[in-house]
Symmetry: C2
Subunit: 340 residues, 2 copies
Amino acid sequence: MRGAVLHGPGDVRVEERRDPEIVEPTDAIIRLTATCICGSDLWSYRGLEETAEAAPMGHEYVGVVEEVGPEVTRVRPGQFVVGSFWASDNTCEICRAGYQSGCVNRVLMGSIGTQAQLARIPHADGTLVATPGTPDPDIVPSLLAASDVLGTGWFGAVAAAVEPGKTVVVVGDGAVGLCAVLAAGRLGAERIVAMTRHAPRQELARAFGATDIVAERGDEGVARIMELTNGLGAHSAIEAVGTQESMLQAIRSTRPGGHVGFIGYAHDVALPGDELFFSLVHLHGGPAPVRQYLPHLIDLIWNREIDPGRVFDMTLPLDEAAEGYRAMNERRAVKVLLTP
Amino acid sequence: MRGAVLHGPGDVRVEERRDPEIVEPTDAIIRLTATCICGSDLWSYRGLEETAEAAPMGHEYVGVVEEVGPEVTRVRPGQFVVGSFWASDNTCEICRAGYQSGCVNRVLMGSIGTQAQLARIPHADGTLVATPGTPDPDIVPSLLAASDVLGTGWFGAVAAAVEPGKTVVVVGDGAVGLCAVLAAGRLGAERIVAMTRHAPRQELARAFGATDIVAERGDEGVARIMELTNGLGAHSAIEAVGTQESMLQAIRSTRPGGHVGFIGYAHDVALPGDELFFSLVHLHGGPAPVRQYLPHLIDLIWNREIDPGRVFDMTLPLDEAAEGYRAMNERRAVKVLLTP
């Protein structure tokens, strides 16, 4: 099969890889209908994160089940399925508490690499959620978004305790941040402030439900949020970048007793304990338990109530993945869909 | 009046101070029945925190109202009252949300100094809670504990989402940590693990409801918690120290999706973002909104359902405050009560 492999900083190649096989009796093999490039893939692409010498890339996927192991009972060949970037058994105590991304048997799909024609899915019964039937092609991008960016944005909004009547700030205008705007709207936020200075992203944020746009960053951005919230700060902030500046911007934009949901994969962040102490905010985040939200998100997409697939503003054949990485790295594209 | 003043590291003197007067129309003056020394007073006593040249000390207090300003309507002279270490109006949006320690008009009682015979209480209507009558002398220490250490421990347990069926770890065996054990028990925790290696504190922790004692610290302490929780970690951890080691010990002792309540005043703490991200814990804490809990805590004490006053293991006349500071600094005493 064809699959994307990172050979070093900036060097992604789509090459021949061995077809995956059932390894564990709980595995499934899927044939990918669509896959994509994640903002978090750029960390290793930029050489900011250590990776294997030749690392298979990708962790987002939708596709059709080809084969299942002998212990798989809930998933059948021919089904169209969506899964998360963590494979999880969905039966352990942590999964049952809704934290499938902390599953005691979890497997990181990025270690398998789903920017490929086929992929092995561990814990298939726990990981995969089948759609009601074969989806119309126009909703495939949205189902693919559910696999990570929408599920992650949704978790950010849940972690930030978004609910009706609240003012919510979203720091970060990548696909996850934009999906967090969408999630905050669906969860009933009264006011959604998207912090972005890029016109096309501002437009998409508004389409997803943002009521206010703040172009300023850092201290100036925080000052603008204070102006908008009677000097108190927002009830909730969703942090979708993962830098020291964005974390502090989110915390400082939130009122005492408010909630910060952080879903940007934190790099070189050291939170000052005294500031966190006196902020009196709730802080929760991490790798999203997307699996928890998948059935609900698939429903919303299937019924055409939400259209998160709009975050894909470039589509390329899998073989041109390298161009997709370049486009996202240079911020020419928000998110790139790859067709295997 | 007599009052304790810090003149420099290790130099606390009880000396003549000017009697307080009504400054704002919302003030009250109280005559203290009892006051005490806080673990957090030791930060400045040890010279680890910058203070004014001659800083009045103390922020915990119970006493009898002597005089009220013209705008005070809920509190009357002669009433026995308990207040928190933050004076708060209890009417602003932040107070009404239960975060009186983040009140937009808050005043830190430590800046006024309650290790004294008299004290001015700002926002008296919002800050003070009257007891049903004059308390029997034997419950005065418990009412004094409600003013800070019990209210803070209670907030820690609430912030750690303690509820029936949960396993709770308490890091820190000072008065606040011990009160957090008591609070966790009252909130229904199934199992309460107190981390302490001091026999008298272990004994008090057990009396307050601890079901398990772990004497190990740091990585070894975390390993013991994992053994006790089937390798998953506790549902909740309450951090009541405020150091980097204790914060990490609490976070590492908690399972994905669990809750860490931190109430130790954080000094020189920098939380690594990536570890926090992958821990998947909820983190909440800060200066406790004690005022929120005071009515309930006073009820429990008045009805002799709890006895948090047991954290006081030394009582001295106010004039001997210096000896009280020395005893706590050398860990000869858990907490020192001063009688003005």
